[in-house]
Structure formats: C-alpha cells, structure tokens
C-alpha cells in the first residue's frame, strides 16, 4: 500500500504495475506517470477532481513550476479559494502519456533497447491518455471522480473520460474544446509537424544522443500554433503594426514588427521546455480525436445513457475551437438526455481565454461543481 502525499503541489511519479493497452494495438510496458496532487482524499473517496492539461501543458497546474518557478498554469482556477479548491477537493493533475514533463513519452528510455524511444514510441490517442490517467487513479485509490475538468486538449480528455469510463465520472467541465479535430485544426498541426521534421537536426527523431534537438523547427511549430491561440482582435490590440525598437522598417528580414518579435520569443522560450518528438505525438493524438467516429459519426450515441453532468464553456473570439463545436456537443448531449449546461463567454483573447482571468468562467465552474457536490 502507498500513502497519498498530501503536501500541496509536490511533483510525484509512479510506475504503472500493469501494461497499458493502446488504441493502436501496441502494449506499452513500464509506463511512468508524473503527477501532482493537492488536498486530501476524503473518507468516502468522493472528492477527487482530475484536471487535464492542454497540448503543451504539464502536471504543475497550481504550484510553481520546479524548473522556472512560474506559477501553476491554471492557478486562476485551481488553488485555495478558487473553484477547484484543495480545502474541499482532492485534486490530481498528471502529465499526459507521450508528454515530456516526466510521464513516459518519446524521450523516455525504451526498456527494450536502453535508448530513448524516439519515433519507435507508439502513436497514442486521447483515449490512451485517459487510460493512463485511469491507471494512475487506480494507484491513488480513486474509483470515482467527482469531476474531470479541462480546457482545449484537456477538455477533449474530460469528454473522453465520460465516454470511456461513464461510471467513474460525476461531472465534466469541458472548456474551449471540441469533440473532434476539424480539417483546419489538423491543417495547422501538420504545418507544425512538417516544420519540425524539415529541421535537419530532427534526423528521424534520433537527436537525443548529442543534444542537438530540432529547436528551429519546433520554434516555428510553436509560432504557427501560437497564432491560433490568439484572436485577430487581440493581436491588433496588443501589437497593431507597431515596430520593434525602431522608428522605421529596416528593409530587411529582422523582426521589424512587434508581433514578429513576440512570436520569435514565444518560439524560443518554448523549445527550452518542450521536446519536439512529444509535440509530434501529442498533436497527432488530438488530430485523431473524434468521439463520434466509433458511432457512425453520431455524437449523441457516444453519450447515450450517460448519468454524468456536463458543463461546456466557449469563448466568442476562439476560432481554434469555436462555439459551433461546443454547440455540437451540447446538441448531442441534449439528444442523449444528459444534464448539460453551456455558456459562451465574451472575450477578446481567443482560445487562450480559458487560461486567463475570467470571473464569469470561475463563477460558472464554481456553481456547477458545487451543485454536483450537494447531490
């Protein structure tokens, strides 16, 4: 037996005792999962809340990042006095399968060879990520989740939880997300992957030995993706056509414009914390995501008979996972007779709005979770 660590935000790891069976048919052995927990699991084991992170997120949801000291990526939503509160909830957040924050991914050592997996790592899906989380919860002694909460790719995992483990989830909060990747979503991801694979340092994914990672390609991938996280309105307000530290254009290809300088900075800082191969695998997982696919395209069928409560939130200026995608989920849940709440919140900040200060989002999540706790 293992005792559950109750300290706030301590980075922990566990090696799964049993193999993970993946959608691709591959079996992955010795999977390690890096996670954090906050709060205490109550005697009835009924107060566990799983937080699912987005594409490039990590398990450090509410505590300072151990390397760069930055506050947790969702400390506006998770923490003392927040809607998800360690005083009330046992909060779990793990790094996704395929990630590079400590959970087994392409940079991990393949026990069969003693060298990093690289591209020998199996292609994974959102459901595989959820399976890994379920195995972690088994380890923590959590049979049933009070709620699964996530934004963006985290929202996909939250929805997948309700479909794959309907009896283990009381409530789902899915924010700024979709039940499938659209052609446009896949297209942007493909640009990012091609940028990585076109970098001569990528070398088929075998760049771990000498440390010369395809950082230029990964930075371009991040720059392209970052544009999709913002809105035109937001970019215009923040940068317009303003120039960077100069009074006139240089008639060259330096970062003349502030928006160029900003994107380059985003790309460069990203490569310090993210593995290029992980980026390939995780973007692939989201591209493959389509909850309706196993049901002849009928999303409602995925939710038939569900007793899980759902809350969906979208943002007006989010064009990556726009309100139409949230409404598609709401329609399906209505057709399945599920208890569903949905609100589109006004924000100029595009997809990133879910990570930013939003009192409306917090009050919606707070009210929704509390109503689920009183029944």
């Amino acid at each position: 037996m293992h005792s559950i660590d109750q300290r706030f935000g301590l980075d922990r790891r566990v090696r799964l005792p049993t193999p993970l069976f993946l959608d691709s048919g591959v079996t992955l052995d010795g999977v390690e999962i890096a996670y954090e927990t906050y709060g205490v699991l109550d005697a009835a084991r009924g107060n566990a809340v799983l937080i699912c992170h987005a594409l490039t997120g990590d398990q450090h949801v509410a505590a300072a990042h151990p390397r760069n000291g930055k506050p947790g990526w969702w400390s506006r939503m998770v923490g003392p006095g927040k809607p998800i509160d360690p005083a009330r909830h046992f909060i779990v957040c793990s790094n996704v399968l395929g990630g590079c924050g400590g959970t087994t991914g392409p940079a991990s050592i393949d026990p069969a060879t003693g060298t990093p997996y690289g591209m020998r790592f199996p292609v994974i899906t959102i459901r595989d990520m959820v399976r890994a989380q379920a195995a972690l919860l088994d380890h923590l002694g959590v049979d049933r989740l009070l709620a699964v909460v996530g934004g963006s790719m985290g929202g996909m995992q939250a929805l997948e939880w309700a479909v794959t483990y309907p009896d283990r989830v009381g409530s789902v909060v899915a924010i700024a997300t979709a039940a499938r990747h659209s052609a446009q979503n896949i297209a942007y991801h493909e640009v990012g992957r091609q940028a990585i694979m076109a970098d001569p340092n990528w070398r088929g994914g075998n760049y771990y030995a000498d440390g010369n990672a395809p950082v230029a390609g990964l930075a371009v991938a991040r720059m392209a993706a970052h544009i999709t996280y913002l809105s035109e309105e937001g970019l215009t307000a923040k940068f317009g056509r303003r120039l960077q530290d100069r009074s006139a254009v240089s008639f060259g290809f330096d970062a003349d414009f502030q928006v160029e300088s900003y994107l380059r900075h985003q790309g460069l800082s990203f490569v310090e914390r993210f593995d290029a191969n992980s980026y390939l695998y995780i973007t692939r997982a989201t591209d493959y995501f389509d909850l309706a696919a196993p049901h002849d395209g009928l999303l409602a069928s995925a939710f038939v008979g569900t007793r899980t409560r759902f809350a969906l939130v979208s943002f007006t200026s989010d064009w990556l996972y726009p309100t139409t995608e949230a409404r598609r989920i709401v329609r399906a849940l209505n057709a399945a007779n599920a208890a569903v709440s949905f609100v589109e919140l006004a924000s100029p900040h595009g997809h990133d709005a879910f990570l930013l200060e939003s009192p409306e989002m917090n009050s919606v999540v707070d009210g929704f979770l509390r109503a689920g706790e009183s029944v």
Binding site: R331, A339, S341, V343, L345, V364, G367
Partner: protein, 202 residues
C-alpha cells in the same frame, strides 16, 4: 413561494412534484431555482443571454445558452414532463412551431403571455391611436423584443388549430387571479396549461 411573482407562482402550481422540467427562456433561473427547492424537479433551461446563463449555472442549474426558435429540435420526444414558456412566446420568430415543439418534447406545456386583448391595450390603440405601453408591455414599440403579440382568444384559436387541449387557464390582472368571465378584456396576463389531444383520449 409567496414571494414569487404571481405569474411564476401560477406556473409553479402547474408543475407536479419531482417532474422533469424544461424552462424555455429561463432567464437567470429564478423559476427553476424555486421549482428545484419546492417541487424537487429535475430542471433544465434554455436561455438566449450569456450573462443570464452564467448566472443560472453559477446557482447550480443545468442551463444551456441557445435559441428556442432553433434549438428545441435537438431534444428527444417525451424527454420532459413539463415544458415552460414563461413570458417568452411573444418574442419567438415562430410561436406556433415553438408550441408544437414544446408538446413534442414534453407531455404538458405551461405557457404564459401578456394579453393583447386587455382593455388598456385596446383603449390605447382605439382612443389614443398609439401602441400601448403597459405594466406587462413596458417597452415602446421600437425597442420591444415582442414581435408576435396575441390576445387570449387568439391563443385559444392557435391551441385548437394545433390540436392541443387546454387543461387549465389562469388569468391575472394587477398580480391577482381573476375569473374567466370576459378574461380577454379584463386580464393583463394569461397562463395556459396545454396537453396533447392524444393523451386526453388515451
């Protein structure tokens, strides 16, 4: 319940204990919250305004932001015991379709609306020659969301045309219930409890 506005109290009266209820145009969820507390209903709501939806969800209600004119089609047949359309009918693009949809989704519908046959309304038009501005129709014609106003008698005709049974009708004037005599002239507001004819005959 005594604090509840008279029309909402009359609607609440028509909802049985423990019913599955859909409140169409539920605003900030005030009625659903009362029904949840007093009738232990399994309540859902649809509301156009995002701010209202956020307020309703924050009080723990299951409410989706949507447009009844378009979104009722998403709900399965017989999903609810009671569908409520409170003071919203007159703002619908297609009132007849909405009412028909309510009675597909639910066995019973409770519909409340301002009576355009009320004597004040008639007087305003007949004597004053102006569009009425009254307690139940407080907004001037150029700003009102009301595009399909009707009288009590108009509504009865629509119910008949749609093949619906009027189980009950409650008439309010000045916040008080009044008898059915000349209600089309005397009542500011009406609440109709409707059901499908097929249920009646079975």
């Amino acid at each position: 319940m005594s604090e509840l506005r008279a029309d909402l109290a009359a609607i609440a009266d028509a909802v049985p204990m423990g019913a599955r209820v859909l409140d169409v145009g539920c605003g900030n969820g005030a009625l659903l919250a009362v029904l949840r507390a007093s009738k232990k209903v399994d309540g859902r709501g649809i509301e156009l305004s995002g701010a209202n939806v956020a307020a309703a969800v924050a009080r723990g209600l299951s409410v989706v932001q949507g447009d009844a004119d378009a979104d009722l089609a998403d709900y399965p047949t017989d999903a609810f015991d009671v569908a409520i359309l409170s003071d919203t009918l007159q703002a619908m693009r297609a009132p007849a379709t909405v009412i028909a949809e309510l009675l597909r989704i639910a066995r019973r519908a409770v519909v409340s609306f301002p009576n355009f046959g009320h004597w004040r309304v008639r007087l305003s038009l007949f004597a004053g020659g102006r569009m009425p501005v009254t307690a139940t129709l407080p907004v001037p014609w150029y700003e009102t969301p009301n595009i399909h106003l009707c009288s009590i008698d108009d509504f009865r005709v629509l119910a008949t045309d749609l093949g619906l049974t009027v189980e009950r009708a409650i008439f309010l004037n000045n916040g008080r219930s009044i008898g059915p005599l000349a209600a089309n002239l005397r009542a500011e507001q009406a609440i109709f409890v409707l059901s499908r004819n097929d249920r009646e005959s079975s």
